[in-house]
């Protein structure tokens, strides 16, 4: 009788032990795989799949949801750089950024600079949208700015251009912040260079005087303190080649729609 009871008990113990050993093996195995470039590339194929499916679903110019004043977050959480703090930036901030220049360079027929007052005198768009950080939090804010399309038309974007690179005044860990988007997002009606948040001049901690809004992607794509827009055919020779600061430094996805 005892023997009959013992057999399954041993079996259970063996099963539990092998389960624990298996889990430990899986854990160290996962870390090794995480550091393996080939395996990283396989995992990254999900990013391509997400991108293709998102672009295939519905209208490519589909607007992100817009909200009402009643939906605003009581405080719009700043993240990343809170103040670039460079001498140039501090001097410009002291005079309300009236001397701020946005430089359009690269593949434009008419590369040109826009001053902040010039941008503010152009047609504006105001939108109340939800900002989703890659970390998981969300904040709803009201943004006012000039549609990027107007600047691209005025500077006459060349047909050879495929991406827009946004150069920024802030540095993180000694490297300049930058981001990039493709032309579909660039010409999207909600893609604006915002200079106002919740009806007031954009605060420094949120990216004054100019911040990109690219509403169908995560927060790190929304470059702050924008000083220049460079039209390029390829991202290979920009920064670390992956299309953005976080993409270069920490392997975040270039397509941040998830």
């Amino acid at each position: 009788m005892i023997k009959v009871a013992e057999t399954p008990l041993m079996g259970r113990r063996a099963l539990l032990t092998s389960g624990a050993v298996g889990l430990a093996g899986l854990l160290s195995g996962c870390d090794a795989l995480s550091r393996n470039q080939t395996f990283q590339n396989i995992l990254s194929s999900a990013e391509d799949a997400n991108f293709l499916v998102h672009r295939a679903l519905g209208d490519r110019m589909q607007l992100a949801s817009e909200y009402s004043i009643a939906d605003l977050s009581p405080k719009f959480r700043p993240n990343g750089t809170r103040n670039p703090g460079t001498p140039d930036y501090t001097a410009s901030a002291a005079q309300g950024f009236s001397d701020w220049q946005l430089r359009l360079t690269g593949l434009f027929a008419k590369p040109q600079n826009f001053s902040l007052p010039a941008l503010q005198s152009m047609p504006q768009r105001t939108q109340i949208t939800r900002h989703d950080c890659v970390e998981g939090w969300s904040a709803i804010g009201q943004w006012t700015g000039v549609p990027l399309k107007l600047l691209l038309d005025q500077a006459q974007l060349l047909r050879s251009a495929r991406f827009l690179v946004f150069h920024c005044a802030d540095r993180l860990g000694g490297r300049p912040y930058y981001e990039s988007i493709d032309l579909l997002d660039a010409f999207h009606p909600q893609t604006i260079l915002a200079h106002r948040l919740n009806g007031e001049a954009l605060p420094i901690e949120n990216g004054a005087p100019l911040r990109l809004r690219v509403e169908r992607q995560l927060g790190y794509k929304h470059a702050k303190y924008v000083t220049g827009i460079e039209a390029v055919a390829s991202l290979d020779n920009i920064g670390g080649g992956k299309g953005g600061y976080w993409e270069d430094v920490a392997n975040y996805e270039w397509y941040a729609g998830v």
Partner: protein, 273 residues
Amino acid sequence: MYSDMTKGQKHRFVRHRLTTRLWHWVNALCLLVLLMSGLMIFNAHPRLYWGEYGANDDYAWAAVGSSQTMGYVRLGETRIETTGFIGNWRDSNGKVQTWAFPGWATIPSYYSLAEGRRWHFFFAWIFSIGLTLFMIASLLNRHVQQDLHIRRPEWHPSRIWADIRNHFRLRFHEPDSINIYNILQKFSYSGVIFILLPLMIFTGLAMSPAMDANWPWLTDIFGGRQSARSIHFIGMFLMVLFFIVHMALLLLSGPFKQTWGMITGGEREAGPE
């Protein structure tokens, strides 16, 4: 004639169909990776909110607190100290870490939101495709209709109560039944396959800003993006509970026979006479 009959009988007496077995193991791997990489993603912002928005200045209904000396989980106004496990734990080098979930529970074991997301989204695809194929196959081979379908008399409270009592007596199968699942099994398997797992997929999709532009109704169904994130987390918790009960019943009902059955097909306890 003879070979046809044996073939037919053999088919009838296999407990788990090939599609069920294939999906079971692929799904088990996916859920394990999704759980552990999901905990890594949670570590980037260990706070949960209700509604559309939610960040550090907003009220979180659940949050992990951490410092160099202690860790705790706050649920509403209730604080539960979790030092050594959540919010304050030692890594394999003995160094105190203040991330929410400990390294042994996350993929990768070191903090990397970007890598956690890579694992999560890749296995989310395998998981979603696998679940869809399994559902289609199970309708076609009548696994759903024959084994999972809860028949009218089985909804009767007296039958359910009898099955609960049978479980406490460790009787998991009525000797004269041709069903491979008892009533509680049907409820839990159907609930997981048709409610909980799809809920995980849709709350996951609802957190994507691009999907929200494509399908604005998706976040609305869940009451906002942060609500979807909270429900995603609660769903994860329910999946872990399911797994614990699943393992407990496996151990009580003959772990080797059951596991071997889920690999090779196994035999039905009783066939129709």
